[in-house]
């Protein structure tokens, strides 16, 4: 079986290599890939969409419909992890509480979950004592990470970046909080409900902008029609439309990252993480 697999892989690889014989020379100016559709992207992207970064213009405008579904794929991944992993009705298992004043740890098996009190704090099974350096550094770092993420999203028009990258960085800031403190701290600040709603809202913004274009009388995702509500000319409207969908992408990617991390790290209990 194993040898058969290797033979098939070699065969497929050989076939792919054989086909490269007929390819146009590497980097040739007259190759079909650089003469058919790309000249227009390279030469006209700026005047047609007012976006200096050609990659962004192709990604979010010329082929923006594909990107909408790429975002949907990420959304599917988040919802898929949620539906497969999340456990709602869990039997109360072993839990640990620490009396803050005396530092005595209580081990509770089963039973009801006690209400929150100021005297006891819930701790993870693998609890390590409070680490001043890690927690302080991470707390200071989180806002800067988020600021950088917003910059990456907003600056996608001019430099590499955009919704996907910015969204991942935003998600990383919340995940850092969950790793450096514990998962409950992160969930207290960023609840599961908010996160799951944001997951849907992000893609909804993307699709919604496209639908607004239909309502304004143009085709789906034809941002030009947004000029009527944004009070800019049609070219700038394309640029602003791209910015709108990038924000949507950013929100969904962030929420999906957080949701996947929380569900994977806590085996669906959203209780104790790594």
């Amino acid at each position: 079986m194993k040898t058969a697999g290797i033979i098939i892989v070699l065969l497929a690889g050989a076939l792919l290599l054989y086909a490269t014989r007929d390819f146009p020379p590497w980097g040739a100016l007259d190759s079909p890939a650089s003469t058919h559709v790309s000249p227009r992207y390279l030469q006209k992207a700026m005047e047609e969409t007012a976006v200096p970064n050609v990659v962004t213009a192709v990604l979010a405008d010329y082929r923006g419909f594909d990107t909408m579904f790429e975002t949907t794929v990420i959304f599917c991944a988040g919802i898929g992890c949620f539906i497969l992993l999340r456990v709602f009705r869990q039997r109360p298992g072993d839990r640990y509480y620490r009396h803050i004043a005396t530092e005595i740890t209580l081990h509770i098996k089963g039973g009801r979950i006690p209400k929150k009190s100021s005297e006891f704090e819930r701790i993870d099974a693998l609890w390590t004592p409070y680490d001043l350096i890690i927690k302080t550094v991470c707390r200071i770092l989180v806002p800067f990470i988020q600021l950088f993420a917003l910059y990456v999203i907003a600056h996608g028009h001019h430099s590499p970046g955009g919704g996907f990258q910015g969204g991942v960085i935003l998600g990383a800031s919340v995940i850092l909080l969950a790793i450096s403190h514990n998962m409950r701290t992160a969930i207290d600040r960023f609840s599961e409900k908010t996160n799951n709603l944001l997951m849907a809202i992000g893609v909804f913004i993307y699709t919604g902008i496209g639908t607004v274009c239909i309502l304004l009388g143009a085709g789906f995702l034809d941002y030009r029609s947004l000029s009527a509500v944004l009070f800019v000319d049609k070219i700038m409207a394309r640029s602003h439309g791209i910015f709108g969908v990038e924000i949507g992408v950013g929100i969904t990617v962030m929420a999906v990252m957080i949701s996947i991390y929380n569900n994977l790290a806590s085996a669906g209990k959203q209780d104790e993480g790594l």
């Binding site: 076939l15 792919l16 054989y18 086909a19 490269t20 014989r21 007929d22 390819f23 146009p24 190759s31 079909p32 890939a33 650089s34 003469t35 058919h36 559709v37 790309s38 227009r40 992207y41 405008d61 010329y62 082929r63 923006g64 419909f65 594909d66 579904f69 790429e70 949907t72 794929v73 959304f75 599917c76 991944a77 919802i79 898929g80 949620f82 539906i83 497969l84 999340r86 709602f88 009705r89 409900k193 799951n196 709603l197 997951m199 849907a200 809202i201 893609v203 909804f204 699709t207 919604g208 496209g210 639908t211 239909i214 143009a218 085709g219 789906f220 995702l221 034809d222 941002y223 030009r224």
Partner: protein
């Protein structure tokens, strides 16, 4: 640019999917109505698009306002129009029929379940409507990813078989993408019509046939064409019943559509049949698929698993028909996409209904089922007769076209395989009927109720099943007009009549 229906039929279910997923956290009871609305709108607009295409011809739609080779274009002709209607209407009926089963299986995650359900429909509908090779891949990802998640929701070995499907499906997707990548290098375009016109002078190039092979192998994995079918039986057997009656009829048929689309609109028939001359090789492979699918089905002891192997064999019918290289074969293949989707959804819905009552689909648990669930079993009989190919059910007519095509092409092996598989289907179904009719109900493992009591499923599940079974006969009766109005005009001129 005033008619937005081709775009709306994809955008509306997409918007509703996001709403359903958000609503799960606000007001749970609204999830199901929203999902039904999304799926219903999709079906409504598909029918609108199809009737428009019937009356006025092909519909084009440029997304983002960019004309075709630069932007992404939708291109709906009769072939995808009719598949669109089949996919969206069957998905809608299945959503209504499986409401109760789904509510029991996923009480807390109904929102997420229906969001995935709608996204799966979006994926399939998008694959069918699009006129862009890469857009097709992206939507294939949406459809595949949602189907992995939905299948893994089942019990027992479902997660494992879904993982297996994920590996195979991802490899299939990669193969398709590699093929598209090679096509892009050679032509510089991704739009199907544009690629087709640019390919003509390149037919002799090795890179093109490698691209073709990779696309076909990738699609072959996704449609479970015989040696590449190993993921299918487990995945569809262990999936929850509401899911298997959604995915089993639609996913594989849509992939057959993609194969036919690539054959007739991207690579064109001259390339497939004259330049590569793959016709008889592919027909022999499908003979293998038909015979092996039928033989493996004989060995099964579980109703759903048995149906899964019937799918493997039916895929052989369609692939073989498309590759016969004549008009009758292609007509049979396209007609069989529609008929087989209808027959398979009947089979799997009936199995789901039985599972709803009996909770076990092993053949020896079906004893005395005709007495207990007469209506469900009547529908199963109708679907079974159609699979066997008994007139006036629709299965007879597509098989008739396929056999005519085989005779015209001189492929007697294919004809023999079709007849062999029909005979095997007779054995399979009459064994099921025998157990259900003559089997001693007291002998089996009963669950509480006495054997004589009727434990028919609720009317909400039976009504859709009855409508679909009636559809089997209606499709059969109207075969002539469907072929004349829909299928004849799309048969490419290059095929022998």
């Amino acid at each position: 640019m005033n008619d937005h229906t081709p775009a709306l039929l994809i955008i509306l279910p997409l918007l509703f999917a996001f709403m359903v997923s958000g609503m799960a956290w606000i007001k749970k009871s609204l999830c199901y109505p929203l999902a039904v609305a999304g799926s219903g709108l999709c079906a409504f607009f598909s029918i609108r698009v199809f009737t428009h295409v019937l009356r006025h011809g092909t519909m084009q739609y440029s997304l983002g306002g960019w004309e075709a080779p630069w932007g992404i274009g939708y291109h709906v002709d009769l072939l995808n129009g009719v598949v669109l209607v089949a996919v969206s209407v069957l998905a809608f009926i299945n959503m209504i029929a499986t409401r109760k089963a789904a509510a029991i299986q996923f009480p807390e995650k109904e929102g997420a379940f229906y969001a995935l359900y709608l996204l799966f429909i979006v994926g399939l509908v998008g694959i069918v409507a699009t006129g862009d090779l890469f857009n097709l891949y992206v939507l294939l990802e949406v459809a595949s990813l949602t189907s992995y998640a939905l299948i893994a929701l089942g019990e027992g070995r479902a997660p494992l078989s879904s993982l297996n499907y994920l590996y195979m499906g991802t490899i299939g997707g990669c193969f398709y993408l590699l093929g598209v990548g090679y096509l892009y290098i050679m032509t510089g375009s991704l739009n199907m019509a544009d690629v087709a016109s640019l390919l003509r002078p390149l037919y002799e190039s090795g890179a093109i046939w490698v691209a073709f092979t990779f696309c076909m192998v990738g699609i072959g994995v996704k449609m479970a064409f015989f040696p590449l079918h190993v993921w299918l039986p487990n995945a569809y057997t262990y999936a929850p019943s509401a899911v298997s009656s959604l995915i089993a009829p639609l996913m594989t048929k849509v992939m057959v559509y993609v194969m036919i689309r690539l054959m007739i609109s991207v690579f064109c028939v001259d390339f497939a049949f004259s330049v590569l001359d793959l016709g008889s090789a592919m027909v022999w492979l499908s003979i293998l698929a038909i015979v092996m699918g039928a033989a493996l089905a004989l060995a099964q002891k579980n109703l759903k698993r048995l149906f899964c192997y019937i799918i493997v064999s039916e895929i052989g019918y369609m692939v073989g028909g498309a590759w016969l290289g004549n008009a009758a074969g292609m007509t049979g293949a396209i007609l069989h996409i529609l008929n087989d989707a209808l027959m398979t959804i009947c089979l799997f819905l009936a199995a789901g209904t039985i599972h709803y009552r009996i909770n076990n689909l092993d053949l020896d648990h079906l004893q005395g089922l005709f007495g207990r669930m007469p209506v469900t079993m009547a529908c199963l009989v109708a679907a079974g007769l159609s699979i066997i190919g008994v007139p006036p059910t629709c299965g007879f007519f597509s098989k008739w076209y396929l056999i005519t095509g085989a005779l015209q092409a001189g492929q007697y092996g294919f004809m023999a395989a079709l007849l062999f598989s029909s005979l095997v289907n007779v054995i399979l179904f009459f064994r099921v009927f025998e157990i259900g009719y003559y089997g001693d109900p007291g002998h089996g493992h009963m669950h509480g109720s006495s054997p004589e009591t009727r434990t028919e499923a609720p009317a909400a599940m039976l009504a859709p099943l009855l409508i679909l079974s009636a559809g089997l006969v209606v499709m059969g009766v109207f075969t002539g007009s469907i072929v004349a109005a829909v299928i004849d005009p799309i048969i490419p001129a290059g095929l022998a009549r």
